[in-house]
């Protein structure tokens, strides 16, 4: 019985190890103590964590802070994808009441640079969405009313909205500029 369960643990751990190595995208660095704690809290299979202490770190974004996906699971952030102008307005209003910064990524399926930065923007939302910053992604073909309201002419366009007013507009897939602006306005 004990032998079976130990083998069972080994198999589970091996599977978890494989899954984690698959999740490693690029460049691993040694984990910090805080990450160890978060990883335990988030990962469902605690046995594998204790046995192997597996960490993974995603590709470094060409910007100030690094974004960490612990074993492929987000830290609670969210990327809102409203499909009507009403949903956009509601999110902006609510964020305004909570004094949070709103970032809107106006994107299009036929826009090359938009597709390229999509995973990076998603990581930003996963990392610190909903704490101080509310991340939105709006497809201009699916929600043309929102695109019209904010006079979007080219994609990607990033709008930073604080208290219901547009504080900053960034044209183009310029992640460093976006990160700087977010840090400034949040």
């Amino acid at each position: 019985m004990v032998l079976l369960s130990f083998r069972g643990l080994l198999v589970t751990a091996a599977v978890a190890f494989v899954a984690c190595t698959v999740a490693v995208v690029h460049g691993c660095t040694s984990p910090s103590p805080s990450q160890l704690k978060t990883c335990g809290n988030n990962h469902s299979n605690n046995n594998s964590n204790l046995l192997f202490g597996i960490r993974s770190e995603s590709k470094k974004v060409a910007s100030a802070s690094s974004i960490v996906l612990i074993n492929g699971i987000s830290r609670g952030g969210e990327l809102h994808e409203p499909s009507t102008l009403k949903e956009v307005n509601d999110l902006v209003t609510r964020a305004g009441i909570q004094n949070k910064l709103v970032v809107i990524d106006f994107t299009a399926s036929w826009c090359g640079p938009c597709q390229q930065i999509a995973p990076v923007y998603k990581q930003m939302a996963d990392e610190f969405g909903n704490e101080e910053v509310v991340f939105l992604k709006v497809d201009v073909d699916e929600c043309p009313d929102a695109a019209a309201k904010y006079s979007v002419k080219a994609m990607p366009t990033f709008l930073l909205i604080k208290g219901g007013q547009v504080a900053k507009t960034i044209l183009g897939a310029n992640i460093p500029e976006l990160k700087t602006a977010i840090d400034m306005y949040k």
Binding site: A108, S109, W110, C111, G112, V140, D141, P144, A148, S151, V152, K153
Partner: protein, 515 residues
């Protein structure tokens, strides 16, 4: 006085009073039905001149279910994708035919004993080309939406039909209906491909579908000898597809015969198969999702794709024009107009839907702007439909302006026309392609005192770019002397037009000599 100047003298456009007044009380000053080349140009120009304008654009899906965004035929299923596919096919053909002659080869490949690199082998991925072109078109759809918004034109993605001459009913894609009223209406709904009427004709696709195909078209049959059929056959063949064109009688009806035949010969030399004096009599689905076509001469063959390009019909069927007494030509369903005004004075029409309008984007745009200026800008200038240059983007391109040789003879008599012509090898083909010739000819009114040019024709590479400048001079009464007095740019193909000296009547050989 120069006879040419008399001919190009434009009378004022006399319009029938349509009852428009400043305090008309309707929702809009102008409602444009159709968001294509003509409709958008007219809407934006009218808005610029202070009118309150709404534009209704709605694409009824093709029988295959294909649909597209704002911009009309040209942007979505006409000129733009056609030219991009043509460019792509020409690029591949050129790499294959010319690269090694210019010493270009794949990296690491050794030249042969004579020092010649081997022919570059090429592959062309249909999905990649199609996706890239489609992404570009969708960016144009977006750009046009922004354009309307910026010019304060209300864009309504709804299907419009007349209730009375001041009211249209609108239906959106969810089936919800509404109504709007206007003092004036402009119908610019263009046309759609005419379906094949033989048994199984619904198995064929049309030009509405070919640019969106989500699988490689494979072995294709193009039915028709219009420029649409030949252009599509041309770029498909250029992309290494097995292509056959089924022609009922002649190629490119309405165009110069000699030039049309040259296009056909070039396409044949470049691998396009022609079945002449046939029409398809039956299409049936066979295994592997292919189509078996039986022709009127009893022969048959199996294809992956059948493209029907036998003509276009005006898109007036759902407009309910009968309810507003707008007369149409029973032969082609196009709206009859005088100075773009229909038989119902406050309803106007421009572009492909208008009877007598050359089916060309720039014509629709110019007519739309001119009409808007007459309606809201106090202008009296009519649209000039004479001497419009056009280009057919077949594998060997053909540009022309003015009369074909046949029309010139019909108008001036055989002795009334002098033909200057020349066949030549364009420099860009001189290293690699010795068997393909370009061709230039001009038609001159032999009885006019200064040999007025009545037609210019060029078959060869970059035809559209070459012909544009000559269009300007033709509209201003170009003479043979003025043309040949102009010093040519060397070395180009265009200079052949300003150095034409051999006449057809002399019987001399039109083939070019040396430099």
């Amino acid at each position: 006085m120069n006879p040419a100047k008399l001919e190009s003298y434009k009378p004022e456009a006399v319009m029938v009073a349509d009852g428009n007044k400043a305090d008309h009380g309707y929702d809009y000053d102008l409602v444009v039905i159709g968001g294509g080349s003509g409709g958008m140009a007219a809407a934006k120009e009218a808005a610029l001149l202070g009118a309150k304008v709404a534009l209704c654009d709605f694409v009824k899906p093709s029988p295959e279910g294909t649909t597209w965004g704002l911009g009309g035929t040209c942007v979505n299923v006409g000129c733009i994708p056609k030219k991009l596919f043509h460019i792509g096919a020409t690029l591949r053909e050129s790499i294959q035919a010319d690269a090694n002659f210019f010493g270009i080869s794949s990296v690491g490949v050794k030249p042969d004993e004579m020092g010649q690199p081997p022919t570059l082998k090429t592959d062309q991925n249909w999905m990649a080309v199609k996706d890239n072109i489609q992404n570009y078109i969708r960016s144009l759809n977006f750009k046009y939406r922004v354009g309307l918004r910026e010019k304060s034109v209300q864009y309504l993605n709804k299907l419009a039909s007349f209730k009375d001459n001041h009211t249209v009913e609108l239906v959106d894609k969810k089936g919800q209906t509404s109504e709007i009223t206007a003092s004036r209406f402009l119908v610019a709904t263009g046309g759609r491909p005419t379906p094949l009427d033989c048994e199984g004709g619904d198995l064929a696709i049309s030009s509405d579908d070919v640019f969106f195909l989500d699988k490689d078209p494979g072995k294709t049959l193009c039915v028709g000898a219009s420029y649409i059929s030949l252009e599509c056959a041309g770029f498909l063949a250029g992309m290494s597809k097995d292509v056959t064109v089924a022609v009922r009688s002649i190629l490119l009806r309405g165009f110069d015969r000699e030039c049309s035949e040259r296009i056909g010969d070039y396409m044949k030399e470049h691998g396009v198969k022609f079945k002449t004096k046939v029409t398809p009599s039956k299409l049936e689905r066979v295994e592997n999702d292919r189509i078996k076509v039986t022709f009127s001469d009893g022969t048959d063959d199996v294809y992956d794709t059948v493209l029907g390009a036998v003509g276009r019909t005006a898109d007036t069927i759902k407009l309910r024009l009968e309810s507003v007494n707008v007369d149409t030509n029973p032969k082609n369903r196009k709206i009859k107009t005088i100075n773009e005004q229909s038989s119902c004075p406050n309803i106007y029409a421009i572009g492909d839907v208008m009877d007598g309008c050359p089916e060309l984007t720039p014509v629709a745009i110019q007519a739309g702007k001119a009409l808007a200026r007459r309606l809201y800008g106090g202008s009296k200038e009519p649209m000039d439909y004479i001497n419009i240059c056009t280009t057919v983007f077949t594998p060997i391109e053909y540009a022309c302006i003015g009369l074909s040789e046949e029309d010139a003879i019909a108008k001036h008599g055989k002795d009334g026309i002098e033909v200057y012509h020349r066949e030549f090898l364009p420099l860009e083909w001189s290293l690699s392609r010795h068997d393909s010739n370009a061709f230039a000819k001009i038609l001159v009114d032999a009885k006019s005192s200064d040999e007025q040019v009545v037609g210019i024709h060029y078959v060869g590479p970059n035809a559209g770019e070459i012909m544009q400048g000559y269009g300007v001079s033709m509209k201003n009464g170009l003479t043979y002397r003025q043309l040949t007095d102009t010093v040519g740019i060397h070395p180009t193909s265009s200079e052949e037009l300003v150095t034409l000296s051999i006449t057809k009547s002399s019987g001399d050989d039109a083939a070019a000599g040396g430099c």
